[in-house]
Symmetry: C2
Subunit: 268 residues, 2 copies
């Protein structure tokens, strides 16, 4: 990322971080959050703590410009608007909140970390999923091991629970950090697969909170839908680090095709 | 709200929608969502479906300007940036997604509506809470009846569950609509009260999704924290209409004072 002056940063969007031909939403938010961090550098707010992005038009891999406007630098937060543009057109806009994270445990937490079988008993998500009709290059940079319990969709028998849980590591051996956790928060496949909806689920809006610095090692990710209807689905993600602490959470609203003939295992 | 031209709208922020001396966050987002709707009017996207706001500086009651920039008008969504300013300073910025909602039930839903005693057995939240040291004018425009099970905090014995559930109606007898649901999604008191944290909990970022048009009648609201630590708390809100359908959901990140002596009923 190169500073172009006047709050503008040049970035090269890397096709590695793609699902099919589309760049991954969490990756795009990480690019914007990084530009926001560069721009508010030195203000004592080194970490992204919240990002909320609205996805306007899918960018292509290649050169892009991230434009940052600092809205406020306060005592405990800096707030920034960041816009990702290509060919002069807005592709993603985000509000980024920066602050200072630590690695202390939660003071109070409502949830236990999601239970998963050991990593080696989970299914390593492939870059070329059989029958998917597309490549998932992202799976070469993120090692995702899905709980076999949530894999029934791959055998044509989705559980209908609307949950997919997995282990995730960065494939190059790097530890997770606040920026890369934005990728972990937007897992592939979408949880709609566990509901029998096999189609593409483009994100409309995604809000992520980074709660603390993750410990080295893999993270555990639980993705769950709350409600599907009216061509819309929400997905709620929680990420725990290797010490069992909640390190990140996200909610997204995505477009989804609901079959004309509702599936009988829908609860409502 | 008056059109000033060039995507700018004059608004008068009404002190009725306050908690203490601060204007309510959901109300401020509704002002921005309304300006966004005016600006994208005629585009076939009459309803707010998502709002994500970043709270920069508290505005005062009185005149303010909402400036709207339409980012994209698509087939099923319009995406808008909206900025609320006073005295030339940005107070709240939001991204607003507009679309077409209906009142059809969900195709699939993970949650049953929160269970509540009948309205008349719940506690009507007062505008002058005893011992609070401040007025809550909002409680004169929103009739909120809190489940007595979640009221133990008012007697000095917070449950520690991190949940507050209530019935809500608009006091003037109006039915809920997509804009007013933004107020229902940011209930008072904050759920930190149920965790024994009595202080002010200013919202940093709030993302709301409106999922369908609500039926006439009261709504049921469940507010819950996921994680508290590092001076931050999240609050997750779900709102069901009188027919038991999820009509709205929200997540917010708020600043919170964590006592130096952690309470022993913290789970982690």
């Amino acid at each position: 990322m190169s500073a172009l002056g006047d709050g503008r940063f040049g970035a090269v969007l890397d096709a590695e971080w793609s699902v099919g031909t589309r760049l991954h939403g969490g990756y795009l938010l990480a690019v914007l959050a990084r530009a926001a961090g560069e721009s508010a550098a030195g203000a004592g707010h080194p970490h992204v703590t919240a990002v909320s992005g609205t996805f306007v038009e899918p960018p292509e891999p290649g050169e892009a410009v991230a434009s940052v406007r600092v809205l406020r630098v306060g005592r405990s937060v800096a707030q920034v608007r960041a816009v990702l543009a290509q060919e002069g057109r807005t592709r993603v806009e985000a509000h980024v909140t920066l602050g200072l994270l630590d690695d202390a445990g939660p003071w109070w937490s409502a949830h236990e970390p999601v239970r998963l079988p050991p990593e080696q008993e989970c299914f390593l998500a492939p870059t070329d999923p059989p029958g998917a009709g597309m490549r998932v290059p992202l799976m070469a940079v993120v090692e995702e091991r899905i709980d076999p319990e949530h894999l029934a969709f791959a055998f044509g028998a989705p559980s209908g629970h609307g949950v997919i849980a997995s282990w995730q590591r960065l494939a190059d051996g790097s530890d997770w950090d606040p920026l890369s956790l934005l990728v972990a928060l937007d897992p592939v496949p979408p949880v709609s697969f566990d509901l029998g909806l096999a189609g593409w689920v483009p994100t409309i809006q995604l809000s992520a909170y980074i709660r603390r610095l993750p410990a080295p090692g893999p993270v555990r990710v639980r993705l769950a839908a709350t409600d599907v209807g009216g061509d819309r689905m929400d997905e709620v993600a929680h990420v725990w680090d290797d010490k069992g602490r909640l390190v990140a959470q996200a909610t997204q609203l995505a477009a989804v095709r609901v079959p004309a003939d509702p599936n009988p295992w829908g609860r409502v």
